[in-house]
């Protein structure tokens, strides 16, 4: 193949050289030919002048011959292309506004498409390592025998891992890892993800150095009992250890066992884990997984094996060698058979990935390509208007004998130039979009993915750019070439009548885009309002003066410590705050003949005073020494009381809590807005927390700054329990974090909406400009006959009024339906979407209308302002 290619290249070069020489010598050769012909004719008796004329006539038009001759040369095509490309910027420069809007539109379309491609590519198709993905390999091993079991798809046993590591020559480094869920300290609200790893793990995944301390020593990885050390991620170090500079050497408790921190890895480290993660030597495995010793027991496959190819080794050779090793291992274990696959470590190639990724990719790319199609369609509309305006120019060129192919190439060169500029501009988006999507959709504990643009993404960008240029240029170019010459030169009405019938498709295009844009803008407006409501809503208590601290055990001791702090005024316990916590939809409460869903909280007697929930009627637990506290007493919220006993006094009534307990109402309190979980419309009830309860939310009311108070509480808890990693926060800051995450989502929807509206505006502009270019003469006549400018503007803008109006109505209707569904969808979350918010709809409609009017108005006003004399003189 290389020889063939070489020969082809040599031949092509020789032809180019010959052609270049021929081009230089062509004039001499032709002059010689003409002179010889003239001399011959003169010999036959013609006068010298007449002979020269006759010779030239016989020659058949030197210019034409020259073109014919040159057309045979390969260089000619290149030269023509270069000419087209030189000409294109000059032509485009004549209408900078058009060029700018085409470039901007294409840049947005291309950039967003390529950016999302880069993101999806990084997420699914690239090895999750921070350097040299080409040499990274991951083993997908399936072992079949009666005795063994696998805890992970594709995993191997510790013995097999060591065999692969010691024998494989084609792999430079071999590492293994296995995930483990860890409880950090004694006050851990949720398990932390950890990874049991071999020593080679860190260099195989990333060349990054630890932020603090060191990684594991060989002895720690391989000798059971020596591995009581841990490396933690920077995120965990900041979140849970307050970025303690003396963390290295400090003991931490994991699942009740003591480990010493030896290092901190930098944030977003490429080592497979979520941000706030912990790495442990794999020799420490027997401390977890219920005490089974997988390091010695060879029957359990629990380690995922990864590695780097040795210098000079190929994937094929490595796979062959590893299969050989697997075969030897099988031979040593009778009754066992192993199939081994070597993957590139990308998400789709992972043994557990299944087929989800296979359909996810086309789906995502289709969703991304749709905007690009819309973009191309709009650019086509813009260029159609321009092609119409250039009909006469094109007709003149055709009449003068320019080839259709050449003209087509010339016009395509223009759109390709535009697309190229747009492609260059969208390089920025190629970088920005993955970062933006990460920022908006990923949380801090999303694991590492390499989404920086690379060769494949750049190639995709180039392909998309070329395709966009060709697609959006083809229709206008061929449209302007298909015209009948005489019609175009006369610019008469018959040609126009023929073209008008076709524009049903553009109406649809404009209408659909307006509708989509309206839906997205309404959605964004509803989301933004929901976010504002979430952040600023009155929750029934002072969120800035209330701290929450999730507790594991030792609750009473911690409460005493916190209560002793100078700024803390009161401390209480509760199972939840205004919602059902983990339970979800709430309990089914029966009372007064009605059934109602309500959120239950189990609280200590001080709860209401501490949080500041006002008592409306009766009393709360322990508030009255005369009335003994009972576990069958219940305090209900106003909403629940109204729902169960409308218009009646709820005190002393009985209700069933859904678990078969009959409770007696002793008091009514104000509603509390739920913090997370299901919104049950403020229906809440409270029962007394037995003193023996462990594992709860500690609530503290304090004076002064929230940050300082949270720090003080965390310090106090740590003083009581050095292994504790407390996470106290004010309710206000928890709410703010939720609102912020939701705000990101709203921003994303809003950005998409803005994009859709901008695209629709480009399309509308194109349609109106097209109509204007077709009706210049008619407008001139009407102006000359005394029609008012306003009437003309109106008549032109009418061209797009119907699709815009239809799109707007359809969009608003869809948005209304969609937001009701959306409100239902968000029912289980702290987000409250009000589908009937009139402001959101009005604002969206106003925005869309303004954009549409602006897009229609610019070309319409220009047309109406045109000089009638000039318009009429065009013939």
């Amino acid at each position: 193949v290389r020889d063939l290619l070489g020969a082809w290249t040599r031949r092509a070069l020789r032809r180019l050289r010959t052609a270049a020489r021929r081009e230089r010598e062509f004039d001499d050769e032709m002059r010689f030919h003409l002179e010889m012909e003239a001399a011959e004719l003169a010999r036959s008796g013609l006068a010298p002048d007449a002979a020269r004329r006759e010779a030239r006539r016989r020659f058949g038009g030197a210019l034409g011959a020259r073109e014919d001759v040159r057309a045979t040369a390969p260089l000619h095509r290149l030269e023509a292309l270069a000419q087209d490309l030189r000409l294109a910027p000059r032509v485009l420069w004549r209408s900078p506004a058009l060029a700018a809007s085409v470039v901007l539109t294409l840049a947005l379309g291309i950039g967003v498409t390529a950016g999302v491609f880069a993101f999806v590519d990084g997420l699914l198709f690239r090895a999750r390592v921070s350097y040299a993905p080409a040499s990274f390999v991951q083993l997908a091993v399936e072992r079949r025998d009666s005795l063994s079991r696998a805890t992970l798809p594709g995993a191997v046993s510790a013995g097999d891992f060591r065999a692969y590591r010691e024998t494989a020559r084609s792999l430079g480094a071999v590492a293994a890892w296995s995930p483990v869920h860890l409880t950090l300290g004694r006050v851990d609200p949720a398990p932390t993800l950890g990874l049991l790893v071999s020593c080679e793990f860190f260099p195989v995944y990333s060349a990054e150095r630890p932020l603090l301390g060191r990684r594991f020593l060989p002895d720690e990885c391989e000798t059971p009992g020596r591995g009581a050390v841990a490396v933690i991620g920077e995120e965990l170090w900041r979140d849970r250890f307050a970025a303690d500079p003396a963390i290295v050497g400090r003991p931490i408790v994991l699942d009740g066992k003591v480990f010493t921190v030896v290092g901190v890895m930098p944030a977003n480290y490429a080592g497979r884990l979520r941000g706030p993660g912990i790495w442990l030597p794999y020799s420490a495995q027997p401390q977890f997984f219920g005490g089974a010793d997988y390091v010695r027991d060879d029957a359990t496959a629990w380690l995922v094996v990864v590695g780097r190819l040795a210098p000079g080794a190929t994937r094929e050779r490595a796979a062959a060698e590893l299969r050989l090793i697997a075969g030897r291992l099988d031979a040593a274990h009778p009754g066992r058979s192993t199939t081994l696959r070597l993957t590139d470590g990308s998400t789709v190639a992972e043994p557990g990935a299944g087929r989800a990724a296979a359909w996810l990719v086309p789906l995502t790319m289709a969703a991304v390509t749709l905007p690009l199609v819309l973009v191309c369609a709009n650019v086509t509309l813009l260029l159609l208007a321009r092609a119409a305006a250039r009909r006469r120019e094109t007709a003149v060129r055709l009449a003068l004998g320019a080839g259709v192919g050449r003209l087509l190439r010339m016009m395509l060169a223009e759109t390709l130039t535009l697309a190229a500029v747009a492609g260059a501009a969208s390089l920025y988006l190629l970088h920005a979009v993955p970062a933006l999507v990460r920022h908006l959709l990923f949380s801090a504990d999303t694991p590492f993915y390499d989404t920086t643009p690379h060769a494949v993404a750049l190639a995709y960008l180039a392909a998309v750019t070329t395709a966009a240029g060709l697609v959006s240029g083809w229709v206008p170019a061929s449209q302007s070439l298909r015209l009948r010459l005489t019609d175009a030169l006369k610019d008469d009405d018959a040609a126009r009548a023929g073209a008008r019938g076709r524009w049903g498709a553009t109406d649809l295009l404009v209408g659909v885009q307006v509708a989509v844009g309206t839906v997205l803008v309404v959605g964004a407006a509803l989301f933004f309002r929901a976010e504002r409501v979430m952040a600023s809503a009155d929750r029934g208590f002072d969120t800035r003066r209330t701290l929450l601290l999730p507790l594991g055990g030792a609750a009473a001791r911690v409460a005493d410590g916190v209560r002793a702090l100078p700024n803390v005024r009161a401390v209480a316990f509760t199972s939840a705050l205004g919602d059902d916590g983990e339970a979800g939809a709430g309990a089914r409460v029966t009372g007064g003949g009605a059934v109602r869903r309500a959120a239950r909280a189990v609280v200590s007697p001080e709860f209401f005073a501490t949080v500041g929930v006002p008592v409306v009627r009766g009393r709360t637990f322990g508030g009255n020494a005369a009335a003994p506290v009972g576990l069958t007493d219940v305090v209900v919220s106003e909403s629940l009381a109204r729902a169960l006993w409308p218009g009646a006094d709820p005190l002393g009534r009985r209700l069933d809590d859904g678990d078969g307990h009959s409770l007696q109402v002793i008091g009514v309190v104000r509603d509390v807005r739920p913090l997370s979980g299901a919104d049950v419309g403020g229906a809440q009830f409270y029962t007394l927390r037995p003193a023996s309860t462990t594992g709860d939310l500690l609530v503290a009311r304090f004076d002064g700054d929230g940050e300082a108070a949270a720090r003080a509480v965390n310090d106090a808890v740590r003083r009581l329990d050095p292994d504790a990693v407390p996470a106290a926060r004010t309710v206000a800051s928890i709410v703010a974090t939720q609102a912020e995450l939701f705000g990101h989502f709203a921003t994303l929807v809003g950005a998409l909406g803005a994009l859709a509206i901008a695209l629709a505006a480009v399309g509308i502009y194109g349609v109106v400009a097209f109509v204007v270019s077709r009706r210049t003469k008619e407008m001139g006549v009407r102006v000359a006959l005394g029609a008012s400018r306003a009437r003309l503007v109106g008549s032109v803008m009418g061209a797009c009024a119907r699709p815009v109006a239809a799109g707007l109505v359809a969009g608003l209707t869809l948005a209304a339906g969609g937001s009701v569904a959306l409100g239902e969808g968000f029912r289980g979350t702290p987000v409250r979407i009000d589908p009937a918010d009139p402001t959101s709809y009005a604002a969206a409609a106003a925005l869309v209308l303004a954009a549409a009017l602006a897009a229609m108005g610019v070309p319409a006003l220009r047309a109406a302002g045109a000089d009638p004399v000039r318009a009429l003189r065009r013939d």
Binding site: E25, D28, F32, H33, E35, E37, T72
Partner: protein, 109 residues
């Protein structure tokens, strides 16, 4: 009026090869000799002749170099290469077969 025959598609290459097989010639010489040899039947348009020459040169059947014409003028001469000679023989034999077959058909009663 001289009888004119339109050149059959694809035969110009064969005719050019044939004239050059008789010896190197410049472009004008080729057209002149073609006219003479055909008894003025073939008037080759220069717009077809030179593209044909360049095509043959690109295929390596003809080579071009500058020389001096019998009239003492600088001119570009074309000559047949070895490959060109082989090509000429092949094309000529093919044409003769074709012509003979055509003649047989036309001569049938």
């Amino acid at each position: 009026m001289t009888p004119r025959a339109d050149l059959l598609q694809g035969t110009l290459d064969l005719l050019v090869l044939k004239t050059l097989a008789l010896g190197p010639l410049h472009g004008w010489g080729i057209s002149k000799r073609l006219r003479e040899l055909s008894g003025d039947a073939f008037q080759v348009n220069q717009g077809s002749l030179y593209p044909a020459l360049y095509r043959l040169e690109d295929r390596g059947w003809v080579a071009a170099e500058w020389g001096v014409s019998p009239e003492g003028r600088r001119a570009k001469f074309y000559r047949l290469t070895a490959a060109g000679r082989r090509q000429f023989t092949a094309e000529r034999d093919g044409w003769r077969q074709f012509a003979a077959a055509l003649e047989l058909v036309l001569a049938a009663e």
